[in-house]
């Protein structure tokens, strides 16, 4: 059989390679949390509140406990000392409600955990949940964030009757002067609706406590195994070194698993109490109801400009629907929107005020893009509204306001330093690809035939590669260990915890190039705190830009050691190392990496001041974020009779710096665009006035199906980031961030002849039809 090892001189970085992780994923040999089976394993099911707000008068667990097969039932007072569920974000004056793992005397949102039943199988556990009698005294709920902070709203938390969790103000430049000098001011209320992240695999936890070792192991479908270990140990009062968190395969997270939930600590508590392993797997309805939601913005934008389209100032009043509690990063998410609010434009005069509103709903938190899609949607809608007001072309107004290429690094009015950029390049490329100028002519013809055709652009920027530690709640560095085994095979251990981003492949590509080995000679391990050195995790498009850079630096350290051993073995003063071979150019003698690795482990002789073995660990602290950008262009046509929106063309030109694997980058953009389309066109988490979630499963919550997705044309420009030696910027969230404003701009453009100026998402056929009917009336 032919070896799969590629010739060692072939460079793999930049090559479209199939993913190393895919064979196990598509042949069913991957292990997810629910695949874990253990002798004596118990199963947990959680009783959840059917009310948006209620006092708990009594909980009677007698019948559930008496049910055959039930091992234990715990209620709020049993777990009072566990927790609280942590909030990692801090803001001045932030009100943080105590978030118990099980509700004690009051429930604050639909799905709030009230009790847990542990039984010998999951069906018994589920049946026994129905035997628990809870007497509730229902209270008035409030789920609309604007109503919540308005007069007369019922208090979510009685101690804070105004429902305001925090006020946050940020200002740069001279906003008042900018608005005083403005020749035109445009204003718009723009919402970014609550979304349900809907990862394909729901959350799940297995906990096992070894009573002899007093050691707890938790398997969890998470993006952050090490942070979870630290935080769950705190919640349980367990010593951190005796807690191990294992992240097996993770079937999607999109930020919803960048969190520590009540259930992780709760299962740890159960396992420690009973001394038996316990499993809890979240149902889809629980996932809709109890896993964080994304977005939830009401934004009031004002943009001041000159008549020639020059943007002078931006004001934003942002009302963030927080839900009933703060999950790990809840209050921090809207502050990212503020940082990103000037977009790609040369506008220093910015003012933002955030009101964080408590509501009787599941908390919001990071969801693909986390704060940046909301900001981008806002500014990109506002620029189109301004262009319409000034009767300017949307492309022209953007080109006029872009930060110039010679201004990087560019200090924004919100305190960021954009690393590098060439903002006009992807816009020009997208316009060329979609044939923008001819399209406008085509549109004129379509309009003359009474057809509603729209052309929409968005030019987005994003904060990626989270991030410098001072700017993050838990440290923004990442770690890597690279080991060369005695045979010359290579093991990489990354502290970032990939869950679909393909880093087992991209990190192997980087390693293979640096060491001159084949991709199959490298294995990338992650997601087990007992194996991998402390790390931060995967979120905020940081995996490759921060985690990959840590791998790169560990490899540089390792190469120094390889050369020391090579020089010793070749009895040479100076050797070079490339393509997997150390060469003494004077003598022409060489020694291979495998020979060096063997010699370093056998250690018959050591180079001076050098340890045996071949392992290096590197913790890399990024000096800045990285700032990718791009342009999306969308052609739509609206059906006059039905309000249906057809996407005729979708072009995405992204600049994520250097590209390590074009196949993976395309996949990330495709997935991101699909989630952006979901928000633009279909998805919305809806609570009724009583706090009931009425989009509680996929019959009512409209996530996109494959048949609903247009052909996505992707292209790139390449502007390397100077922040890291790989020159990469991050691409995990780009598609989502660029998508929704481009689609809405396109549909508003289509309906502009009817006098439509703005449409809030999702743009369902019903909404569009009503708009058209209104325009006819």
């Amino acid at each position: 059989m032919a070896t799969t090892t590629i010739t060692k001189t072939e460079k793999l970085v930049g090559k479209a390679m199939r993913r190393q992780e895919d064979p196990r994923l598509i042949t069913g040999s991957a292990t997810y949390v629910d695949d874990i089976q253990m002798p004596g394993m118990l199963h947990a099911c959680i009783l959840r509140s059917p009310h948006g707000a209620a006092n708990i008068k009594s909980v009677d667990i007698a019948a559930a406990l008496a049910h055959p097969g039930v091992a234990a039932v715990y209620v709020g007072k049993d777990t009072e000392k566990v927790g609280p569920v942590p909030c990692g974000a801090s803001l001045p004056g932030l009100r943080v409600p105590h978030h118990y793992v099980l509700a004690i005397d009051r429930v604050y949102f639909i799905g709030h955990p009230v009790a847990v039943v542990v039984a010998t199988d999951k069906y018994i556990a589920r049946d026994a949940v129905d035997l628990i009698e809870v007497e509730y005294e229902t209270l008035q709920a409030v789920t609309d964030p604007e109503k919540a902070i308005g007069p007369g709203a019922p208090p979510v938390h009685p101690e804070w009757p105004d429902n305001v969790a925090f006020n946050y103000h940020q200002e740069g430049g001279d906003v008042d002067t900018a608005f005083a000098q403005a020749e035109v001011v445009v204003k718009q209320r723009i919402t970014s609706q609550r979304l349900i992240p809907s990862s394909m695999e729901t959350r799940g936890v297995v906990a096992d406590y070894n009573t002899g070792d007093k050691a707890l192991t938790i398997w969890s479908s998470t993006q952050i195994p090490h942070l979870m270990r630290t935080l769950v140990a705190q919640m349980l009062g367990a010593p951190e070194h005796k807690v191990r968190v294992v992240t097996p395969e993770v079937g999607g997270g999109f930020g919803s698993k960048l969190n520590v939930y009540a259930e992780e600590a709760l299962m740890g508590f159960v396992a420690m109490k009973l001394g038996q392993p316990v499993k809890w797997i979240e149902s889809r309805r629980e996932n809709c109801m109890c896993t964080i939601h994304g977005r939830g913005h009401v934004d009031y934008f004002e943009v001041a400009a000159k008549k020639d389209g020059t943007i002078l100032g931006i004001k934003l009043k942002l009302i963030q629907d927080l839900g009933a509690y703060h999950q790990l990063l809840t209050p921090a998410i809207p502050t990212l929107s503020v940082l990103m609010m000037p977009g790609l434009y040369r506008c220093q005069n910015v003012r933002a005020d955030i009101v964080g509103a408590f509501t009787n709903a599941v908390p919001t938190d990071a969801y693909r893009g986390a704060g940046r899609p909301e900001a981008t949607h806002g500014i990109e809608r506002m620029v189109d509204i301004l262009a319409a007001e000034l009767k300017m072309d949307p492309a022209e107004i953007r080109l006029k306001n872009f930060i110039h290429n010679d201004e990087f690094p560019y200090a924004t009015g919100t305190g960021l330093s954009y690393d590098s950029g060439n903002y006009a390049a992807p816009l020009h490329k997208a316009m060329d690809l979609i044939d923008y100028h001819n399209l406008r002519e085509e549109q004129r013809q379509a309009r003359s035939q009474g057809r509603l055709m729209g052309i929409g652009l968005s030019t987005y920027g994003e904060i990626c590669a989270f991030g410098p530690s001072p700017a993050t709640p838990a440290g923004g560095w990442e770690s890597a260990t690279v080991k060369i085994e005695p045979s010359g095979m290579v093991t990489v251990m990354t502290g970032s915890s990939p869950h679909g981003q393909g880093e087992e492949t991209t990190f192997a590509q980087i390693t293979a190039d640096e060491l001159g080995v084949g991709i199959d000679d490298v294995i990338v391990l992650h997601g087990d705190t007992a194996i991998v050195q402390y790390g931060i995790g995967t979120f905020g498009s940081r995996g490759t830009a921060v985690g990959g850079t840590a791998v790169y630096f560990a490899l540089q350290e390792l190469k120094k050691k390889i050369k020391k051993y090579g020089a010793m073995l070749l009895e040479s003063e100076e050797v070079s190392f490339s393509d997997g071979v150390c060469v003494d150019h004077k003598t022409g003698k060489s020694v291979t990496l495998a020979e060096i690795a063997g010699a370093s482990h056998r250690a018959m002789k050591l180079p001076p001041g050098t340890q045996p073995g071949m392992v290096e660990t590197y913790f890399w602290e990024p000096p800045n974020f990285a700032f990718p950008f791009g342009a999306h262009a969308v052609v739509t046509e609206v059906n006059r009779e039905t309000g249906d929106i057809e996407i005729k063309r979708y072009v995405a030109v992204d600049d994520c710096g250097n590209i390590i694997n074009p196949l993976i980058v395309a996949g990330q953009v495709h997935g991101g665009v699909v989630q952006g389309l979901g928000q633009a066109l279909w998805e919305q988490a809806v609570y009724d006035d009583n706090g009931q979630l009425i989009t509680g499963e996929f019959m009512d919550y409209a996530i996109p199906r494959a048949s609903m997705i247009p052909w996505i044309e992707t292209e790139h420009t390449v502007t390397p980031s100077p922040v890291n030696p790989l020159g990469v910027k991050g691409v995990g969230e780009a598609g989502t961030i660029g998508c929704s404003p481009a689609v809405v701009n396109s549909v508003v453009d289509a309906l502009s002849t009817l006098g439509v100026r703005h449409i809030d998402m999702p743009m369902t056929p019903e909404k569009i039809w009503n708009l058209m009917e209104g325009a006819r009336a």
Binding site: P50, H51, G52, I110, D130, R285, C288, M289, D688, N690, Q692, L693, I694, T695, G696, E697, M699, D700
Partner: protein, 148 residues
């Protein structure tokens, strides 16, 4: 959710008013009613099977008659809960005589919670209307049949 409507039953108003509070008739006419028992003055215990969207469930609860102004109108208060959630409702029934028949106008508010809200809310209005329509159809039938 607000619901309202009207239905004409082919019996005089006094009789209609009386029959609308007769547990035997109500149990017979309410679709899915398993059991209806008088537990107090103007108060009944009820078990009812209901199917909405992709699931069905058994509700147990109470029906209460309040603000009775015979033979003009009365309030009906319903409260039930089951494995699939809870429902609460109140309705005002107005009876107007119409040439030997009676027009029954109803106006009410229904609240549901739990799984039933997450899954079935979309279909709640149509299901409620269907249940009410079926009720009056059966009621008209039962009211005009000789008692057995």
């Amino acid at each position: 959710m607000k619901i309202s409507g009207s239905y004409t039953v082919p019996i005089p108003r006094d009789e209609a008013y009386k029959l609308l509070q007769d547990p035997v008739i109500l149990a017979k006419c309410m679709p899915g009613t398993d059991h209806l028992e008088k537990i107090g003055e103007d108060e009944y215990e009820m078990k009812m099977k209901m199917a909405i969207a992709s699931f069905s469930g058994l509700f147990t609860g109470k029906v209460k008659i309040a603000d009775a102004h015979p033979p003009d109108n009365f309030m009906l208060l319903v409260e039930g809960s089951g494995k699939v959630g809870f429902l609460k409702g109140s309705g005002l029934l107005n009876l107007t005589p119409q040439e030997g028949a009676t027009e029954v106008k109803y106006e009410g508010d229904v609240q549901v919670g739990g799984t039933i809200a997450a899954v079935g809310q979309r279909l709640l209005e149509s299901t409620s209307k269907m249940i009410i329509k079926k009720f009056f159809e059966k009621f008209a039938e039962a009211a005009t049949q000789p008692t057995t």
